[in-house]
Each structure stands twice: as structure tokens, then as C-alpha cells.
């Protein structure tokens, strides 16, 4: 099956790519998609363990099973909100 993978912010820069179509076996989880993404874009491994995910624009978990056509987004640690960081 195919899932669309989206990278944001620093992950996008590390991958050098914002959206990637991933071919993966049926029954794969989000974590499996991350492994496949690491194979394809080794630089993103630098952020392994500090990433959360969304599936089809809702928050997801790394052990969730993905389905054909799903959109999987990997999210670096966030920094929205006020413009002052350590306040």
C-alpha cells in the first residue's frame, strides 16, 4: 500500500523534502513508516525519539496501524505560541 508522508520544519530540512510517497506492507504502523523514512532520508534519524505524529490531520500514536492512502505527518518538537521562548 501507499501512504503519503509529510515532514515539517527541521524534519523537512533534514529530509530535504516536504512530502514523500512511501510504499509499505499492509499492517504497517506509523513507527514502520518512520523506519522506512529513515532508510530513505538518513538525516532525519537525528530526531528519532523526539518526534510525534499525525494521521489524516488528527493526532496519532506511533503504534497505530496505517491504511492505504493515509497521510502520515511527522512533527518535530513544537515551538508555537508566544514569541518569547523561555518565558
Amino acid at each position: 500500500m501507499r501512504v503519503t508522508v509529510q515532514f515539517f520544519a527541521r524534519l523537512r530540512e533534514l529530509a530535504g523534502c516536504s512530502s514523500w510517497t512511501c510504499e509499505i506492507a499492509d499492517g504497517a504502523t506509523v513507527a514502520d513508516v518512520w523506519q522506512a523514512a529513515e532508510q530513505q532520508f538518513p538525516a532525519i534519524a537525528a530526531m528519532a525519539g523526539r518526534v510525534s505524529c499525525a494521521v489524516n490531520a488528527d493526532f496519532g500514536r506511533m503504534n497505530a496501524v496505517v491504511h492505504d492512502g493515509d497521510e502520515v505527518a511527522f512533527l518535530p518538537p513544537v515551538s508555537g505560541g508566544s514569541a518569547t521562548e523561555r518565558d
Binding site: F8, A9, L75, P76, S79, G81, S82, E85
Partner: protein
């Protein structure tokens, strides 16, 4: 009428947000007696380095989903309170606002707490990233790993709002 929850590349304005909140809140329960707002403004310096400008990036659909989760959490904690959250994306200059949060309530205590809670939660779970540009380079700012189900983060936000 302005949407209460929004991501936008246009400059943020406080007044339309407050008006939208007032209009909706007037119709509810005791009506609107208190509105607390918070504006995050881009500062000139960060950890001693001079900031040229910022660039915010968001997963827009998911960020709106996150704002909705935050609004629901606030409505559970302060039933008579209504929230609005607008976050700007794209390039933002020094002195411009990156985020506006507003909480309207019948009573002022709830408005202060809900507003504070909301900005804490935005910083914790909204999929928005800040790219700081300095004279000599740029850096992504990285805060918490966004997870709305993380109860430790949520408790921390509630403590800051209430204590």
C-alpha cells in the same frame, strides 16, 4: 464574524477577535463580563542574540484541530468561558504579534485562567514551529513533543493557569 480559531498569514488583530467573542458570549448564560487576552509579540533579542525576523510554519489542519482540543479542554474546566486562538504563520517582523488568545467569561477569574491555560497548551501541543533568523544564521526553536494525551504536560498547563 471572525472565526474563533484560526491560522493565518495576515497580521493579527485583537479587536475583531474580542468582538467576535463578545457577540457569541453575550448570548450565553450570564453573558460576557470579562475578557482576558494574550498577545505574543516578536522580540528584538533572544538569549542575547539579535533577532532579524521570525518565520512560523504550521501543519495547518492539525493546528486547528489542536486549537479545538484546547477550546474543549477549557470549556470542561471553565464551563461559562469561550476561547479564541489566532496564530500567525510565515514571516513575522520584530514588534508584530505571532499569536493572540482571548477568553471571554461572565467572571474575571475564569477569563484569566482560561487565557493562561490556552497559551500554555498552544505552546505544548500546537504543531507550529518557529524559525529564528539572526544576523549570523538561523535556528529552529524546539519545545515539547506535541502530544495532547500527555497528562503531565496538561497538568503543568493547568498549574500555571491556576496557581
Amino acid at each position: 464574524m471572525s472565526a474563533l480559531l484560526a491560522i493565518s498569514s495576515a497580521p493579527l488583530a485583537l479587536e475583531p477577535l474580542v468582538t467576535a467573542l463578545e457577540e457569541r458570549q453575550q448570548a450565553r448564560g450570564e453573558g460576557c463580563g470579562a475578557i482576558c487576552t494574550f498577545l505574543g509579540v516578536v522580540r528584538r533579542t533572544h538569549q542575547g542574540r539579535e533577532v532579524r525576523h521570525l518565520d512560523y510554519e504550521a501543519h495547518e489542519a492539525l493546528a486547528l484541530r489542536a486549537f479545538g482540543i484546547i477550546a474543549d479542554e477549557a470549556a470542561d474546566a471553565w464551563p461559562d468561558t469561550l476561547l479564541a486562538i489566532h496564530h500567525r504563520i510565515g514571516r513575522i517582523e520584530i514588534g508584530e504579534a505571532s499569536v493572540v488568545v482571548a477568553a471571554a467569561s461572565a467572571h474575571r477569574d475564569a477569563s484569566f485562567r482560561a487565557c493562561r491555560y490556552a497559551i500554555e497548551r498552544v505552546k505544548q501541543i500546537a504543531p507550529i514551529w518557529k524559525h529564528e533568523f539572526f544576523a549570523d544564521g538561523a535556528a529552529w526553536v524546539e519545545g515539547p513533543v506535541a502530544d495532547p494525551a500527555d497528562e503531565t504536560l496538561r497538568r503543568e498547563a493547568m498549574e500555571r493557569a491556576c496557581a
